[in-house]
Amino acid sequence: MLTIALPKGRIAQDTLEIFERVFEKKFIFDDRKLILESGDFKFLLVRNQDVATYVYHQAADIGVVGLDTLEEQGLDVIRLLDLKQGYCKVSIGMRAGEKLDFSKPELKVATKMVNITRSYFASKAVSADIIKLYGSIELAPLVGLADMIVDVVQTGATMKQNGLEVVEDILESTTHLIANKNSYFFKKSEILDLYEKINGAI
């Protein structure tokens, strides 16, 4: 039996569709249920940011999570497969017309992705004052809270509507199949069999 953590919402639906194609059977959660057991699989519906945590602590053997979330959390899990879904970018946004200037002594950056941001500016040897926000990140440059933001961008429409534009991309993200390290070694044949089937179906 493999336990699989899925993030609630669109990614869970897309992933279950892949499983349905591969195993030629329906995988449907009963209304409001968070656990679905079917055949050799137990699916768990969890919050996107919690998928890697469930896998890291082996509450789930494998999981599906965006690379952006995975990079931000930095948990030691195995990256099995790029599912090539849920494409987005982690980008730097500034007020339209402004230019990114790495020569400034310090930059104020608002973001909810503190670790990705810190590591990116450190790699550029730029001192950044990182301000952690939990939402409405686009507001920060408009009210002078920050010089720029680092945020997840899908189409760029939200930034545009708020008078911002993408000035630099930090990371391209898609959903990834991940595995717990010990589960991988204990259940290698099951996990690699699933890897092969899903890889053949995407």
Partner: protein, 283 residues
């Protein structure tokens, strides 16, 4: 604000039955080790050489001595114990089998109780493995044995120009995407029964290292085991044959071969906290 009842995160507190269990585990282990010719050593808490044992300096709790030399609080015992036995105690003893029962500490406040043993100037990892299994058996534990060889990921990293980090984090997708048939076979290799077939496919230098895994796995009578040739541990000193004993998400023990000051040695560590935790969970 720190409340009166608080203790630092990661620190260990045992009392009543859990403290008794800790004493019981350590007593059983020390009796078995002494019976097998090991002598006990207690090494200093402060050390000048911890950076040789720990891959990430940030994990060390650093302080300074009276001359402002950097010191660390013990984060690993192996290198210090071997250095003290061979260098400082070189004129006092020629004994080469030592064990220690003491905690290690990592930044900021992580504490881990260990039972460790070193067999200096011995390359007999089978004996170290048997000793580990004997102690665990006496403690009614039968975790899964994983046998690996750290040299294999190191050789692959060099010959295929793959960062060692890809093995450390097991980037399976990246390794499989190389489409190298023998590498794929190595990734899938898990059972001893498959090893002869895979050995025929891999390059000569990898074959020699796989043969060492095969030899150790065949010599051991412990059947609850797997082989994991691509596993890479983050410890700095294990450099060849390596084993770990795992149950669920926990490592109960690990051991391996290492070279210190040009001398080949083997050793192992058993993680007492995990054993106490399981015992407490089961009662």
């Amino acid at each position: 604000m720190i409340f009166e009842h608080e203790i630092p995160e990661g620190s260990r507190l045992y009392f009543a039955s859990s403290a008794k269990e800790k004493r019981n585990i350590e007593q059983k282990a020390s009796q078995l080790l002494e019976k097998s010719g090991f002598l006990e050593i207690v090494t200093p808490l402060f050390s000048y050489q911890q950076h040789q044992s720990i891959g990430d300096d940030k994990e060390l709790i650093s302080v300074n001595d009276a001359q402002n030399h950097n010191m660390s609080i013990r984060a690993d015992t192996t290198i210090d114990a071997v250095r003290i036995i061979t260098k400082r105690l070189g004129r006092n003893t020629t004994h080469r089998r030592w064990f220690y029962i003491q905690p290690v500490y990592r930044y900021p406040s992580f504490e881990q109780n260990q039972i460790g043993a070193e067999m200096i100037a011995s390359d007999d990892l089978k004996e170290a493995l048997d000793m580990t299994l004997l102690i665990l058996e006496k403690l009614d534990q039968q975790p899964l044995l994983q046998i690996s060889n750290i040299k294999i990921p190191q050789l692959l990293s060099k010959s295929l120009q793959i960062p060692l980090d890809d093995f450390k984090h097991m980037r399976i997708d990246k390794l499989l995407s190389l489409n190298i048939e023998w590498l794929t076979e190595l990734i899938y290799l898990q059972d001893l029964e498959q090893i002869d077939r895979v050995m025929q496919l891999v390059p000569k230098e990898i074959r020699a290292e796989l043969a060492k895994i095969k030899e150790l796995a065949m010599a051991s009578s412990y059947r609850h085991s797997i082989i994991a040739p691509l596993y890479y541990t983050q410890m700095l000193y294990y450099d060849e044959l390596y084993f770990r004993l795992v149950k669920d998400n926990s490592t109960y023990a690990q051991g391996g071969r290492y070279i210190n000051e040009g001398v080949v040695s083997v050793g192992f560590a058993i993680y007492t906290d995990i054993l106490i935790e399981e015992k407490e969970d089961n009662t």
